[in-house]
Amino acid sequence: MTHLFRALCIAMALFAVALVLLQLERTPWAERVHLNTLAGQLARLKYEHAHASVKAAPPPPRRPINLSGRYERSLVEVLILEMGLPGAATLGILALARRKRRGTPPAGPR
């Protein structure tokens, strides 16, 4: 029962944070991205309208959503580059901080 209550508290916190983050859509950045998308669509329509009479090869089919290159991750990229390197850096910093706290001299020649 206690675990259930705690899970409910965490779920409520999650929901509250999500509600706050939804407000990001009203920021100038979101407006700019939205306007850029509309401008791109308009330019594409204008181009297609201007070249409608010209017989040309059809453009390649567009993907339903514009996925950036970051979407295509491999296992090596996730484990080594995105998780492993920051983790290794953290372990190094932690080891240095603990050694400094203990006051032990650094290993190797001075």
């Binding site: 705690r6 999650l14 983050l21 950045w29 991205v33 991750r73 996730v78 998780m83 983790g87 953290t90």
Partner: protein, 164 residues
Amino acid sequence: MAAPSPAPVSDSFKLRWDALLFVAFVFSAMPHATGVFFHEWTSLALVAVVVTHLVFNWSWIIRTTRQVFSRLPAEVRFNHIWDALLFVLFVLTILSGLLVSQQALPSMGLPWVPSRFWMVLHNMSATGLTVMIGVHIAMHLGWVWTRLRRKPGPAMDAAKGEEP
């Protein structure tokens, strides 16, 4: 009067749960390899797994939050702030993913409204989340290593009051 504390979860079970969380996250972070369907449903299931992970470490979260304005070791303070940021970024990743969901939401009868803004945000937050989880695991690697070398026993969190 304080509420009765529930039976502590054993460390070996916590470790197995964390391993499940790690594997599920890694595979859901590769939608190109696993497919959008698996990516979306695994990510939604991750919410329940993460909530359970937080429930398991509830006592550490509460204890550290209470002491956050008093004297705390720098490492514990950093850990606490990092975990809070990780929670916010996780919510942002799931929220933006839901808003650009191509299969999970439409299968529930909700319309798919493509949004470039949320897609950009989803890519950025997912990359940030992966990096932050790498640091989070590194911060707790000592605990993981100790649990791996020790035989399964009673929950350390309840017995000794150490960090998860």
